[in-house]
C-alpha cells in the first residue's frame, strides 16, 4: 500500500517534470477543489494535475475549504487572471452558477468535475453520477441480503454524510428509489459535517436501539472506519454486520481486505479526471465535442449533449474482496502509466 502510494506520487512528480515544457506551450487551467479534508478531493488534485500535464496544461489548484463564498471569490479572482479554462468541483451545486456564467461571458471555458450543475451551460461535465452510485450500492446490497437471508429482507442502517451536502442526498435518493418495494427497513441517520466520530456514535447507538441490523451502508469510506470501530467495541466480528460504503477511498479498500467491509462502490476518480484532460484541447479551443461512447482509462463512458452542454458519465464500479487489488481503482493510488491522449 505504502509502496503503491510512493509509486503514484513518484509517477505524478515525474510526469509533472516531463510535461513542464509542454505545459507552458498550451497554457494554464485553474482547478477549484472544494476541500482538502477529504481523500477523494485530495487525490483529485494529484490526478487532474497529472492528466492535464499529460496533454500540455499547467494546473493551478485553489482550495475553497468547503465554503461557497470562498469558491465564489476564487472564481471572480481567477476570471481576472484570464486562464485558458477553469475546472470546478463546486462546493454548492447551484450557488456557483452566476460565477460560471460570468467566466463563460469573459470567454473562459468552464469544466465541471464530479459534482453536476444542470442550471446553466457548461463546456464539459465529467461525473460518475451520484444517483447512479446509489443504484450500484442498492444492487450490491440486494445481493448481500439475498446471500445472508435468502431474499431481499432485513434492516439496513444508512449513514449519510452531512445533510446539507447534495452529494450524499443524491446517493440516498438513488439508493432508496432502487430499494423501494423490497421488504427492508431502512434507518437513515446523518453524520454531521462528514465527521467520523459522529458516524461512530450513530452506529453505537443504533446497535443498541436496533440489535437486528443486517447491513450498514455509509456514504464515505472514512465514515466506514468509525463504523467498524463501533462494531468492534460492541464485540462484533468481521461479517457479523454487513458493511457497504461508497467513494472507494484507500481506507475502504483496506476494510475490505480486513473482512469488515463487503462492498465499496467506487467513484471512478481517475477516469473522471482523465476525461476532462482528453477533451481539454477541444474545450479550450471552442471546438465541437461529438456525442458517443469513449474509452476512458478502459471504462466505456457515454458522452451525451444535454441541455447544460456536453456531459460524460463514467460508470462506477463495485469493489469486493475479489477485485480489490486491481490498480484501476483510485483507492489503490496507482496512477495509470500511459499518458492521456487528447481526443482528435
Amino acid at each position: 500500500m505504502k509502496l503503491s502510494r510512493r509509486v503514484f506520487f513518484g509517477t505524478v512528480a515525474a510526469a509533472a517534470l516531463a510535461s513542464a515544457a509542454a505545459a507552458q506551450d498550451k497554457g494554464t487551467i485553474y482547478y477549484m477543489v472544494p476541500t482538502l479534508l477529504d481523500e477523494f478531493q485530495t487525490t483529485s488534485v494529484d490526478a487532474i494535475e497529472k492528466f492535464m500535464g499529460d496533454v500540455g496544461y499547467d494546473v493551478v489548484t485553489l482550495n475553497a475549504d468547503n465554503k461557497t463564498d470562498i469558491q465564489q471569490s476564487q472564481m471572480s479572482d481567477t476570471i481576472l487572471l484570464d486562464p485558458d479554462a477553469i475546472v470546478i468541483a463546486p462546493v454548492d451545486f447551484n450557488a456557483l452558477v452566476p460565477a460560471i456564467d460570468e467566466a463563460r461571458a469573459a470567454g473562459i471555458p468552464v469544466m465541471i468535475f464530479d459534482r453536476q450543475i444542470t442550471d446553466t451551460m457548461i463546456d464539459l461535465t465529467s461525473v460518475a453520477g451520484t444517483i447512479e452510485i446509489g443504484h450500484v450500492a442498492a444492487a450490491e446490497i440486494k445481493r448481500l441480503l439475498t446471500e445472508k437471508n435468502g431474499s431481499v429482507t432485513g434492516t439496513i442502517l444508512q449513514v449519510l454524510g452531512d445533510p446539507g451536502d447534495p452529494y450524499t442526498l443524491d446517493i440516498q435518493q438513488g439508493f432508496e428509489e432502487r430499494m423501494e418495494g423490497d421488504d427492508v427497513t431502512i434507518i437513515t441517520q446523518p453524520a454531521m459535517q462528514w465527521e467520523a466520530s459522529n458516524a461512530g456514535s450513530i452506529v453505537a447507538d443504533e446497535l443498541l436501539a436496533t440489535p437486528d441490523i443486517d447491513l450498514i451502508f455509509v456514504h464515505a469510506a472514512h465514515l466506514a472506519v468509525a463504523a467498524v470501530a463501533s462494531l468492534e467495541a460492541a464485540g462484533k466480528a468481521p461479517g457479523d454486520v454487513l458493511l457497504v460504503s461508497s467513494n472507494g477511498a484507500p481506507v475502504g479498500l483496506d476494510l475490505i481486505r480486513q473482512g469488515w467491509e463487503q462492498v465499496e462502490v467506487e467513484q471512478p476518480l481517475f477516469a473522471q479526471a482523465a476525461a476532462l484532460a482528453m477533451f481539454a484541447d477541444k474545450v479550450v479551443n471552442g471546438e465541437e465535442i461529438e456525442p458517443g461512447t469513449y474509452d476512458v482509462l478502459g471504462l466505456q463512458s457515454e458522452l451525451t449533449i444535454e441541455e447544460w452542454g456536453p456531459n460524460i458519465k463514467i460508470p462506477g464500479a463495485a469493489i469486493t474482496a475479489d477485485n480489490v487489488d486491481e490498480p484501476r481503482f483510485w483507492g489503490n493510488l496507482q496512477a495509470p502509466d500511459d499518458p492521456i491522449t487528447p481526443v482528435e
Binding site: 482538502l36 445533510p163 466520530s197 453505537a204 447507538d205
Partner: protein, 331 residues
C-alpha cells in the same frame, strides 16, 4: 427567608444543570423507545468523553477570563499525530514500540505534548505579548487545522495499533474505559479547581485580574498555565478521539468546539470569567450528548437534526439564564 430555605434554594440553583440532565433523561426514557437501557447510558458517557475532556480545559481558560477557540483544532492535530505514528493503514507509519504498557503511555504523552505546545504558544502571545486571546486562539484554530491538512496531505491514517485500540474496546463494570478516563479527568481537575491554590487563583484572576496581581498572585503565570492545560487536555481529547475512530482523518473533530462551548455555558461557567465549576460542565456535556443520542434514536429526518439540536441547546442556555435571574431575585 430562613437560612435553611436559602441553603436549599442555593443548592438547587447550583445544581440546576444536574436537575435538567435528570429531567431530560427521564423524559427521553419515557418517550423514546429503547432509550432506557444501560448500554445507551454507557454510550452517552463514552460519546461525552472527547468534548468533555476538551471542555475541562476550555472551562478553565474561560473561568480565568479568557477564551480558547483552538481546542478543536488542537485535538485534531494530536489525533492526526497519533494516527500518523501508530496507525498501520493509509498514511500511518505503524510504529511498533512493543507491548501496550509502552505503546499507551508513549502515544498519550506525544499527543498531550502536541497539545501542550499549542497551549504554550497561545499563552505566550496572549500573556507575554498582550494580544487578545480571542484573536490568538482564532488564529490557532485556523493554522492548527491547516497543519493537520499539511502533515496528512488530506489523507487519513487508519488501523491504530491494537495495543492502543484496547482502550477504545475494553470496559470496566460495563462502562467503556474511554468514559472512565473522562470521569477521572473531571475528578482530578475539579479537585484542582476547588481545593488547590492554583485552582482558586484561576477563579480569582478571572474575577479581577488587576486585584489579584496587586495581591501578589502571579496572574500572568496563572493565565499562561491555564492555556497550557487547555492545550494539554485538548491533546488528550485528540488521543482519545484517535482511539475511538481507530485513526484520524483531516476533518476529525470538526464541530466539537461548538459542543464544548455549549457544555461550558450550560454548565454554569460565565463567559465573563471568575464563575464556574467543573462538575457543572460535566453535567452540561452529558446533557448535550443525551440530546444527541435522543436525536439518533428518534430517527428524525436528516435536515431537522441540526435545527432541533440547536433549539434544545438554546432552551438549556435559556434555563441557565433564568436560573441566574432567579438567584439575583431570591438570594
Amino acid at each position: 427567608m430562613t437560612p435553611a430555605r436559602r441553603r436549599t434554594i442555593e443548592f438547587l440553583l447550583d445544581n440546576l444543570v444536574w436537575l435538567m440532565l435528570i429531567t431530560v433523561l427521564v423524559i427521553f426514557s419515557l418517550t423514546i423507545p429503547r432509550y432506557f437501557q444501560f448500554g445507551i447510558f454507557a454510550n452517552i458517557l463514552e460519546q461525552s468523553t472527547y468534548v468533555g475532556v476538551m471542555a475541562i480545559g476550555l472551562a478553565m481558560v474561560i473561568i480565568s477570563g479568557n477564551l480558547d477557540l483552538s481546542v478543536e483544532s488542537t485535538a485534531a492535530l494530536s489525533a492526526m499525530v497519533t494516527g500518523l505514528l501508530f496507525a498501520s493503514s493509509g498514511i500511518g507509519l505503524g510504529i511498533d514500540l512493543g507491548p501496550a504498557i509502552v505503546m499507551i503511555p508513549v502515544s498519550m504523552l506525544i499527543a498531550v505534548a502536541v497539545g501542550t505546545l499549542i497551549g504554550f504558544i497561545n499563552g505566550f502571545f496572549t500573556v507575554k505579548i498582550g494580544m487578545s486571546a480571542f484573536i490568538v486562539t482564532l488564529a490557532s484554530f485556523i493554522w492548527v487545522r491547516g497543519l493537520v491538512v499539511a502533515i496528512s496531505g488530506g489523507r487519513s491514517a487508519q488501523s491504530l495499533a491494537p495495543e492502543i485500540r484496547m482502550i477504545g474496546i475494553e470496559r470496566l463494570f460495563g462502562i467503556p474505559l474511554l468514559a472512565w478516563i473522562s470521569v477521572l479527568c473531571f475528578v482530578i481537575f475539579a479537585f484542582i479547581m476547588a481545593k488547590t491554590p492554583f485552582g482558586r487563583y484561576i477563579t480569582l484572576v478571572g474575577g479581577n485580574e488587576a486585584a489579584t496581581f496587586r495581591a501578589g498572585i502571579p496572574s500572568g503565570r496563572i493565565l499562561w498555565m491555564s492555556f497550557v492545560l487547555a492545550g494539554a487536555l485538548a491533546g488528550l481529547a485528540g488521543w482519545l478521539l484517535a482511539i475511538r475512530t481507530s485513526g484520524a482523518t483531516a476533518n476529525l473533530g470538526v464541530g466539537m468546539l461548538f459542543n464544548a462551548f455549549a457544555a461550558v455555558v450550560i454548565g454554569g461557567v460565565s463567559l465573563k470569567g471568575g464563575i464556574g465549576k467543573l462538575p457543572g460542565v460535566y453535567a452540561g456535556v452529558l446533557l448535550i450528548y443525551s440530546i444527541h443520542t435522543a436525536i439518533n434514536l428518534m430517527r428524525l429526518p436528516a435536515h431537522w437534526t441540526q435545527v432541533i439540536l440547536g433549539l434544545l441547546v438554546l432552551a438549556a442556555v435559556l434555563l441557565d439564564t433564568l436560573k441566574l435571574r432567579l438567584r439575583e431575585r431570591l438570594l
